[in-house]
């Protein structure tokens, strides 16, 4: 399915801009509500994320002493902008992505990492010790999950024989669900997504019981709100990518909603099931297990694709 819209509409309303912000908040609410239900609580009301964001935007923004004011102000904007840009290449709502070229998978993955990178820089920009520890952990975690996550998303790309997200999505829609053919890749991708979003058990970078709020400790008001929205958008984009690749492609809005929400259900379950890992445990888990397993999977796919040609 594809629609042709004016570029301004694409950027401001759908699928960029308003639609992404709205769906990001909606998915955040679903996530919080699910975790609350798993913990036998009632959970937040449906407009909670909206109220949070409006309240934060209406609050005073304090620029603390010792930071570079320009960086302090621009980093949240960069984080949000890169997350929004990444969404343009993904099959949101099961429609064709608006921009698509050979290799946009790599661009999207890097755009998603820019968000984490600005988070780390935002922490390192401040002289607050909690921010500094948080920034170190954020960047450490970035280095640990990034490689396996990328390998896990390369698996479907190699199987499909294309580096275009739209192409992989189409291929996934026509063949057997890749969660069955590449189960290891799916698990690595799902857990990698959780690491990317710093959800429990990978929330050591913002562990509130040890380091207050991690890299964002000094942010108040607008900057904090933008980072939160950016993270929500990243949640939607990540869910879209993983379900498009591994859950048989996203061809129409109904499929999109069902598959991403199903994935979110599993992710919320994992979040409430596990306790926080220490940062060294996170790194160990990814480099000792995640990367090796993802590499094996990749090797198997490459051999599987090369074998029929040999005989």
């Amino acid at each position: 399915m594809s629609l042709s819209l004016h570029p301004l509409i694409v950027l401001l309303f759908f699928p960029g801009g308003l639609f992404l912000l709205g769906s990001g908040m909606f998915y955040e609410w679903i996530d919080r509500k699910l975790v609350a239900r798993y913990q036998n609580r009632l959970g937040p009301r449906w407009f909670q994320p909206l109220a949070d964001v409006v309240k934060l935007l209406a609050k005073e923004e304090i620029i603390p002493q010792g930071v570079h004011p320009g960086l302090f102000i621009i980093l949240p904007v960069i984080a949000l902008a890169s997350a929004l840009t990444a969404a343009l290449y993904t099959p949101l709502l099961g429609l064709q992505p608006y921009y698509s070229f050979q290799g946009d998978l790599i661009v999207t993955l890097y755009l998603l990492s820019v968000m984490t990178l600005s988070l780390g820089l935002a922490g390192a920009n401040s002289i607050n010790r909690f921010s500094l520890v948080g920034a170190t952990r954020t960047i450490t975690q970035l280095f640990s999950y990034e490689a396996p996550f990328m390998l896990a998303l390369l698996g479907p790309a190699i199987a499909a024989g294309t580096w275009r997200i739209a192409g992989i999505n189409e291929f996934a829609g026509q063949s057997l669900w890749m969660i069955l053919t590449q189960p290891i890749g799916f698990i690595v991708a799902l857990i990698g997504l959780m690491g990317k979003l710093e959800l429990p058990p990978f929330d050591a970078p913002e562990a509130e019981t040890e380091i207050v709020a991690g890299a964002l400790t000094e942010y108040s008001g607008r900057g904090f709100a933008l980072f939160r929205i950016g993270k929500n958008v990243e949640l939607v984009v990540g869910l879209t990518l993983v379900s498009a690749f591994y859950l048989g492609g996203l061809m129409n809005p109904l499929e999109f909603v069902l598959k991403t929400l199903g994935l979110l259900l599993v992710m919320a379950g994992l979040q409430s099931l596990f306790a926080r890992l220490r940062i060294d445990q996170t790194v160990g888990l990814w480099w000792r297990m995640g990367t090796l397993v993802a590499l094996l999977q990749l090797l198997a796919i490459v051999i599987g694709r090369a074998l029929p040609g040999l005989f």
Binding site: R41, P44, R45, A51, K59, E208, V212, L216, S220
Partner: protein
């Protein structure tokens, strides 16, 4: 305020802001020298049994993210400066709820040589919750009173303090 209310857009924005403030009160909790009884009750308030997240209340670690400072205990001279600093680190608009008889009027510690009289002597307080220690229901009621106050548009203690002439430091 008066010229703003004549402008329809500004009044809609004000309504939106106060709606968001009422529905998303994030709290930070500080013990300024209490016996810990009140703190246990505050933590009990935040457990799944009372589940304050259904009202939008979230416990934040950083003063920069919080709207409401929930503070317990008589302010000891040691913690006076810290309490002031935490209060000043919070972005406006900010509100303070003093929990427990000690925070209200030094309670069980009345007359001790090492305390200030009450939290209200150090920072502007919006709502006092009396009790030793107050039950979680009482704390929730106190916060609900505060939200009512925000809704009615009454000036918060912070605003009233700003209008007063600066007091001489003692």
């Amino acid at each position: 305020m008066s010229d703003q209310s004549s402008n329809p857009l500004a009044s809609v924005m004000d309504g939106l802001k106060s709606w968001a403030r009422i529905n998303s009160p994030w709290v930070i909790h500080y013990n300024s020298g209490s016996c810990n009884g009140c703190d246990i009750e505050i933590l009990a308030t935040l457990t799944p049994r009372y589940d304050l997240e259904r009202l939008g209340v979230k416990l934040q670690g950083s003063p920069r993210h919080a709207d409401i400072l929930i503070c317990t205990g008589p302010v000891t001279r040691q913690s006076k400066e810290r309490l002031k600093r935490i209060y000043e680190q919070m972005p406006s608009p900010k509100f303070v709820v003093a929990v427990g008889s000690c925070g209200t009027a030094s309670g069980a510690f009345r007359g001790c040589y090492n305390i200030c009289e009450s939290i209200g002597d150090v920072i502007p307080v919006d709502v006092y919750v009396p009790g030793c220690a107050p039950r979680p229901e009482a704390i929730i009621y106190g916060v609900a009173q505060l939200l009512e106050m925000i809704k009615s548009g009454a000036p918060s203690a912070e605003m009233r303090k700003a209008e007063e002439p600066a007091a001489v430091e003692g």
